[in-house]
């Protein structure tokens, strides 16, 4: 996987919370932009068990890998713009962790590309989550889920791209 996307790409890896609505508004509608899909991932409290998540990341590689994933999405679907924002550090329950926005002429490409980016991001972008318990105690590193591997591998076959 290599190469640059031929459409506007915004990649941000940062500690501060972001505002999904403001990020959507930032995407100015080009003449042929008929569909914008956004996904926001939030920090769950797991029934009151957690206060926050702590996310470690690999600076430099995260940005490079996200650029590769977006370029791959651009080879599979006719995209007009992509934004990916991913936070690191301490993220309190209820706060946003990740935002993926895809824009295309039609909804199918925008929906599929957003799902693809999230599925591959979870298994390929170098982030690691650890739980912070409700009483503030650092807990275990979260283990990778087989479900996430399965979700990512459904895009492996080139014919998955429509």
């Amino acid at each position: 996987m290599a190469g640059q996307a031929s459409f506007p790409v915004s990649i941000r890896v940062e500690e501060a919370p972001f505002d999904p609505t403001a990020e959507l508004a930032r995407l100015s509608g080009a003449d042929d932009m008929g569909a914008v899909v956004s996904f926001t991932g939030l920090c769950r409290g797991e029934g009151g068990r957690l206060a926050a998540l702590e996310l470690e990341h690999y600076p430099g590689m995260v940005e490079a890998e996200l650029a590769r994933l977006i370029a791959e999405a651009g080879r599979r679907w006719p995209l007009l713009a992509v934004t990916v924002i991913h936070r690191h550090g301490r993220i309190a329950v209820g706060e946003p962790i990740v935002l993926v926005i895809t824009a295309s002429a039609h909804r199918e490409a925008a929906f599929s590309a957003a799902a693809f980016l999230m599925d591959w991001l979870k298994t390929r972008a170098p982030f690691w989550k650890r739980e912070i318990a409700a009483d503030g105690t650092p807990g275990d590193w979260i283990e990778a889920k087989a479900d996430d591997d399965a979700a990512a591998s459904r895009w492996d076959a080139p014919e998955a791209a429509q």
Partner: protein
């Protein structure tokens, strides 16, 4: 060559990064893992289950078979859990 460790691998080896002089017979990522494991019990423990260790060369995912070549930086980490 710079070697970096992340998440529980970093905790188990007790350091985030280090500079190593690569012995001449080390050609692949797998060779490097084998050599690292010989450096002490903390490395033996961190790398005991190769199935849950991922690697990257110069910010690109790599496998145990990948040749180190002219890479400046190698990183080891658990399966990723972002998103």
């Amino acid at each position: 060559m710079k070697v970096r460790y992340f998440a529980w691998l970093r905790e188990r080896v007790g350091r985030a990064e280090e500079e190593i002089a690569l012995p001449p017979h080390i050609e692949t990522v797998g060779d490097l893992v084998g050599w690292l494991k010989s450096r002490g019990p903390e490395f033996e423990g961190a790398f005991e289950n190769a199935a849950v260790v991922r690697a990257a060369l110069d910010h690109t995912h790599a496998s145990l078979d990948t040749r180190l070549g002219q890479a400046q930086e190698v990183a080891f980490f658990p399966p990723m859990t972002g998103g």
